[in-house]
């Protein structure tokens, strides 16, 4: 019996390793190897045609001398202003939707529509809406409020607010669904206890709802920041060549331009590492401080 069982276990182990092999191989081939290779080429000058030459830290030094790096980094961080605004709005939406009345599921679907729409199509659509002279937004601003709208995507000062606006429109539905699920998992006993103690609506929100949703705040924040660091597609469409005065370019756009427009592979890899390290540090900080404010049950 024992021998037979061992035989089975041996076979089982073989199967187990076979089952976990593909992702491990995938990690080695498409994750680890490119990563190491990327470090290597970041110390080279290489256009993919001529022979690469070793330049040491020159790419990194050049990187810190390029004003556009700081501009694109600043833009990337600036666009993150949208994250807290989006969190507040989607939480508000979720609270409004967290009731069982007719028509709610229809509303939920409609608010979710921008989330599933292809980002390229969405960017094209907003490009037209934000047109200075004939766009819908400026038309509404002028006719309803008497405000003369700016040249949203053509004015360096307005490109980033435009991108934030589009990001909010596109992202609200997704976070709303997360918050809705969170709200539905909050046990009603907390509220009942608070009511007995005479808490008002605001107190209940501040002391119960908000803290109990903290795992969701955390998830939305972390994913939002990682996503913002990597935003590219909307920039490609809406801020051609980085937009006026490079005001719309994000760091990934900067990397893309250097890699696939100028074929400056070594330099672009150095820039990619700068981004990689930044994301790593920021995520680490968020997790480090998480236990101070994220409630776990």
């Amino acid at each position: 019996m024992n021998i037979k069982l061992n035989g089975y276990r041996k076979k089982e182990l073989a199967w187990l390793y076979l089952f976990v092999a593909p992702p491990v191989l995938g990690f080695l081939i498409f994750g680890l190897t490119p990563m190491l290779f990327s470090i290597f080429i970041s110390f080279q000058k290489w256009d993919m045609i001529s022979t690469p030459s070793w330049v040491g830290f020159e790419n990194y030094i050049e990187l810190f001398k390029d004003e556009k790096v700081f501009k694109s980094l600043f833009n990337t961080v600036y666009l993150m202003i949208g994250i807290p605004i989006g969190m507040a709005l989607s939480l508000l939406l979720a609270i409004l939707m967290n009731r069982s009345i007719k028509g709610i599921s229809f509303l939920r679907t409609m608010y979710y529509l921008p989330v599933i729409s292809p980002i390229i199509a969405v960017s094209l659509l907003w490009q037209w809406i934000l047109n200075q002279d004939y766009g819908l937004l400026n038309h509404v601003l002028w006719n309803w409020f008497g405000i003369k709208g700016p040249n949203w995507l053509g004015d360096a000062a307005w490109v980033k607010p435009s991108l934030i606006l589009i990001g909010l429109w596109g992202g609200l539905g997704g976070n709303m669904v997360l918050y809705l699920a969170g709200l539905q998992s909050v046990s009603s006993t907390y509220y009942e206890a608070a009511e007995i103690d005479g808490a008002n609506g605001w107190q209940k929100f501040m002391r119960i709802t908000l803290p109990l949703l903290s795992p969701i705040h955390f998830f939305v924040l972390v994913m939002g920041i990682i996503g913002a660091f990597q935003s590219f597609s909307q920039i490609y469409v809406l801020a051609v060549d980085g937009g006026p005065e490079y005001s719309g370019a994000t760091i990934v756009y900067y990397i893309f331009q250097h890699a696939f427009k100028y074929f400056n592979m070594g330099f672009a890899s150095a820039a990619a590492w700068l981004l990689g390290i930044l994301i790593f540090i920021v995520t680490l900080i968020q997790f480090k401080f998480a236990d101070r404010w994220v409630y776990q049950d």
């Binding site: 498409f30 290779f37 529509l113 390229i120 998830f219 893309f256 890899s269």
Partner: protein, 278 residues
């Protein structure tokens, strides 16, 4: 009780007001796509095009090989989802239900890949795929997806560690069921809801992907629908031909919206579940 009702009305009112902001861009796009170019600059703008004009759609269809674009996007989605999800399900089963040496280290290592941003690996991957002469083919967009995505593995592992009782596996073992057979006929059916949710999310992610296809696909006939649509902009923005660009945007959106309406439940559930557990 009456107070509750009142609050509901206010909520509905606010939500419908917000809905205008969410939906107007879509309707405006549709409306523009049905106008002749000379009519789009009319002031005040008309919501209902008069005359209704479908020639923009014909023009987009003539300008870009959209059928190829849809086919290419579909090929990537179908191949990556069928094989990638099966592979992910297999390793999730192994990680979630069994003990084996180095399990923790392997899983942790895989989770670490989540930390690597695409921009770091995109350049070396491009160089590698150029060496293989895979540029301008769909392979660089398909092959990496076949090895199973760690996020999906993590999600399914969480799901089956509670949804699939160990006793069931033990009972099957005693009945002489082989390891792959247990996976195929017991574990896989249990995973179905989790797989459906991940398929919905995966479809959305792959179909709407842009950066990867943009880097690799250069010949119009080989491009995905997103890259083709984006190239419409370069073609027509110079002449401010917004109706055609909007028609292109609508064409890109319609398939996703149709899939969404049919599989809504999976989309919204998957997002909710992955958000809380992920």
């Amino acid at each position: 009780m009456k107070y509750k009702k009142m609050a509901d009305y206010w909520a509905l009112l606010l939500l419908f007001a917000g809905l205008i902001f969410m939906i107007a861009p879509f309707i405006w796009t549709l409306s523009t796509s049905l106008k002749a170019q000379r009519n789009v600059f009319e002031i005040p703008p008309k919501w209902i095009p008069d005359p209704m004009n479908f020639s923009n759609y014909v023009e987009v269809w003539r300008q870009a090989p959209l059928l190829n674009g849809f086919a290419n996007s579909l090929i990537i989605v179908v191949v990556v989802l069928t094989i990638g999800l099966l592979v992910a399900a297999m390793s999730a089963y192994a990680f979630g239900k069994f003990e084996f040496p180095f399990k923790g280290a392997l899983f942790l290592g895989l989770l670490g890949t989540m930390m690597i941003p695409y921009s770091v690996v995109m350049i070396p991957q491009f160089i590698g795929f150029s060496w293989l002469d895979w540029v301008d083919t769909l392979l660089p967009l398909i092959v990496p997806g076949l090895f199973g995505n760690i996020v999906v593995i993590f999600f399914i592992r969480q799901f089956i560690s509670s949804a699939l009782p160990n006793d069931l596996i033990e009972a099957a073992k005693i009945d002489g069921c082989s390891f792959p057979r247990i996976f195929w006929s017991i574990a896989l059916p249990v995973m179905k809801p989790a797989l459906a949710a991940q398929a919905a999310l995966g479809f959305m992610g792959i179909w709407n992907d842009f950066l990867g296809p943009l880097i690799y696909l250069h010949t119009p006939e080989k491009q995905t629908i997103q890259v083709l649509i984006a190239s419409m902009q370069a073609l027509y923005i110079g002449q401010s031909n917004y109706p055609i660009i909007m028609a292109a945007a609508i064409i890109a959106m319609v398939p996703v919206i149709i899939v969404f309406f049919f599989c809504q439940r999976y989309f919204i559930e998957s997002l909710a579940i992955s958000g809380i557990k992920g």
